[in-house]
């Protein structure tokens, strides 16, 4: 594990650190407030106040559960790309496109040079970290994913768009580090959509992380990892946070064929299912993980963000993660 790097950053984490991927379900108060805000019944400050309370709730919950590396729960974010696109010069909000069934979203359009002019997530990180002594991760969406999930009318091609966004995300990383953030997650769920573009994603991540002093994690999910493994290990991060349980741990087969060289945040509970895993099931998954990575490299978390679960389901699933870690520490 990059224990040495963590130590140098002043972070002493237990064996099998427990974390989560990023989003938690919006609390009832936030859901209500967002509706009222849309209907003009409350203003932006009132909404923010409720989001801050919900963030404090989730920080408290994570501490109570015994989670080691916390997240702010993203109570104030909607879509993981739109959050950034709405705040960055160079983006225009596009019309509606369908994502599946009867679900539509506004897909952003890059219409000019994308620029970082001010911090996008730093205030929320500072607030969340101020509520706890445990480390809180900085949470960003990666340049390749923002590129892939947007239209581009400005840059000559996908790579140029991606590299411009990498510069923007690097500025945000620098701002987080300057504020004291030591563990930063740069999510790339789109990593495997075009396997032939993996080198672009890697080059972009170099631009985001090279020479910067933080422990970097990247999260990827619903991927065709068989098409980008082991090449994806070239991504310059310390830790891969991967959806494992939803696919019946079939990635392990790949890791047996070619050694997994990074730290891994191993998804031990399925976020797409209402069903709460039995403790024994979760322990078996950890055991399986230990057949492919040394214990020093293993972190434990849910497969993906928990925002589609209910608050109770999310807490129950997180508890399973903590229980499993404790069982293996003893």
């Amino acid at each position: 594990m990059n224990r040495q790097k963590l130590k140098k950053l002043g972070l002493e984490l237990p064996l099998f650190p427990v974390t989560s991927v990023g989003s938690f379900p919006k609390t009832d108060a936030v859901v209500r407030a967002r509706g009222e805000f849309r209907r003009g019944k409350i203003n932006a400050e009132q909404l923010t106040e409720i989001e801050r309370e919900a963030t404090a709730f989730w920080i408290r919950k994570q501490e109570e559960l015994g989670i080691d590396v916390l997240v702010d729960g993203e109570q104030y974010r909607g879509d993981m790309v739109a959050y950034f696109a709405e705040r960055l010069p160079g983006f225009t909000n596009g019309g509606l496109v369908r994502s599946y069934g009867n679900r539509y979203y506004h897909k952003p359009i890059v219409t000019g040079e994308v620029k970082w002019t001010e911090p996008l997530t730093v205030e929320w990180w500072r607030y969340a970290q101020g509520l706890t002594k445990k480390p809180v991760k900085g949470m960003l969406t990666g340049p390749y994913t923002i590129m892939d999930w947007s239209f581009n009318e400005h840059y000559p091609d996908r790579k140029a768009t991606c590299m411009a966004l990498a510069g923007v995300i690097r500025s945000e990383v620098e701002a987080l580090i300057a504020t004291g953030c030591k563990i930063i997650q740069v999510d790339e769920p789109a990593l495997s959509v075009r396997p032939e573009e993996l080198p672009v994603a890697i080059e972009a991540m170099h631009r985001v992380t090279d020479g910067l002093n933080a422990y970097f994690i990247t999260h990827a999910c619903y991927g065709a990892f068989d098409l980008i493994y082991p090449g994806m290990l070239e991504l310059p991060v310390d830790n891969f946070d991967l959806e494992m349980s939803n696919s019946g741990l079939d990635l392990l087969e790949l890791f047996r064929r070619h050694r997994f060289t990074k730290d891994i945040s191993f998804g031990v509970v399925d976020v797409h299912s209402h069903v709460l895993e039995e403790p024994a099931t979760v322990r078996q998954r950890v055991e399986q993980a230990l057949t492919v990575v040394p214990k020093d490299q293993l972190w434990i978390d849910p497969d993906c963000g928990l925002k589609t679960r209910t608050v109770e389901e999310a807490i129950a699933k997180l508890r399973r993660c903590v229980e499993a870690a404790k069982a293996f520490r003893n």
Partner: protein, 343 residues
């Protein structure tokens, strides 16, 4: 030399105005039990009419029904076949769109028409859009091909667990549908096979399935029908298997030029023994192409294409764009043709 403007499949089923939210609202109401199946069908009809009107208004010679009724390119057809259950969501290739995956549980069989009634509705809508004078304009039915359907399906039925029998089973069902579409007067039918670009190693299985479909076309022609078989590939680089695709027993080949700028070179170099549908207008990005630039590419390729004839269309269906941009892309097709013709 002829350049025909032809759409390539889907069209947005929504727009930003309240009127264009009709289908979305009706589906939501239907799910809450507040709207009937008849309301839903009428909303689909209305959005289909609008999709056809917008294509006609943009001057397209060959329109589709916009696939407004299709939940996705896979489950709409597979769900109409006996022996298939529709399962959870999966990402469709490298898009940010999700389809429902079919699971084949028992013998897969066509139990009724798949696209004939849609064709009939679309024809009437086209005639209405053209004030009763569609002239030479035609509606082109679109079917997802057997290889792609099989590739994106799971099988629980033991005998269909291997890819090849699964492809054959779908090919059999689609062959019957091609016959039915021919009998209903379809002049062409578009078969979408994007999966073959990602898995060229399955070529033999794929080519046999295309052979089955072209046999159905030949049988229909023996009955005096006019039908032509068009194969469309997109969502990946077509260049590596371009020559093999162009040699298939089909009447036209639709190509996506957006993944590899050198595809046009390959066409110029090898030529084409069959007419091509040139997907030079990007159906996946909002940026509007420069008509003069696209026209140059077309002028380079046209003399190398059999019969000097080609269709011009978007690189794939237009559902991946917001409606205003989809409409702008259709308009662009006419501007490009004018540029090619030096007007």
């Amino acid at each position: 030399m002829t350049l025909t403007l032809a759409h390539s499949g889907s069209y947005p089923r929504i727009g930003d105005s309240a009127e264009l939210q009709l289908l979305r609202r009706t589906i939501a109401g239907f799910d809450r039990g507040e709207r009937s199946a008849a309301d839903l069908a009428e909303a689909e009809n209305q959005m289909t009419r609008l999709a056809i009107e917008e294509q006609a208004a943009a001057g397209l010679d060959v329109v589709t029904d916009g696939q407004i009724r299709w939940n996705d390119p896979v489950s709409y057809l597979a769900g109409k076949l006996a022996g298939v259950r529709i399962n959870g969501l999966l990402r469709l290739y490298d898009t940010n769109f999700y389809f429902r995956q079919p699971v084949i549980e028992s013998r897969l069989q066509r139990q009724g028409e798949l696209a004939v009634s849609d064709l009939q509705f679309a024809r009437e809508a086209l005639a209405a859009a053209c004030k009763g004078k569609p002239g030479s304009r035609q509606v082109k039915p679109v079917l997802t091909g057997p290889y792609t359907l099989a590739h994106l399906s799971l099988a629980q039925a033991e005998e269909l667990k291997a890819l090849e029998p699964r492809v054959e089973a779908y090919a059999e069902a689609l062959a019957a549908e091609i016959g039915a579409l021919a009998d209903a007067g379809a002049e062409t039918v578009q078969i979408d096979e994007p999966s073959i670009l990602l898995h060229p190693g399955d070529w033999q299985i794929f080519a046999r399935a295309v052979g089955r479909l072209s046999a159905a076309r030949d049988e229909a022609r023996k009955r005096g029908r006019k039908i032509g078989l068009l194969l469309y590939v997109y969502f990946h680089d077509c260049a590596p298997i371009y020559s093999k695709l162009a040699a298939l027993p089909i009447d036209g080949l639709g190509l996506d030029f957006t993944y590899n700028r050198k595809l046009a070179d390959a066409v110029v170099e090898s030529g084409s023994p069959i007419p091509l549908a040139l997907g030079l207008v990007d159906g996946r990005n909002t940026k509007l192409e420069q008509p003069a630039e696209v026209a140059r590419e077309i002028s380079r390729m046209l003399p190398r294409i059999a019969g000097d004839s080609a269709w011009l269309g978007p690189s794939c269906g237009l559902e991946y764009l917001p409606r205003d941009r989809a409409r702008a892309k259709l308009q662009l097709l006419g501007e490009i043709r004018s540029a090619v013709e030096g007007r």
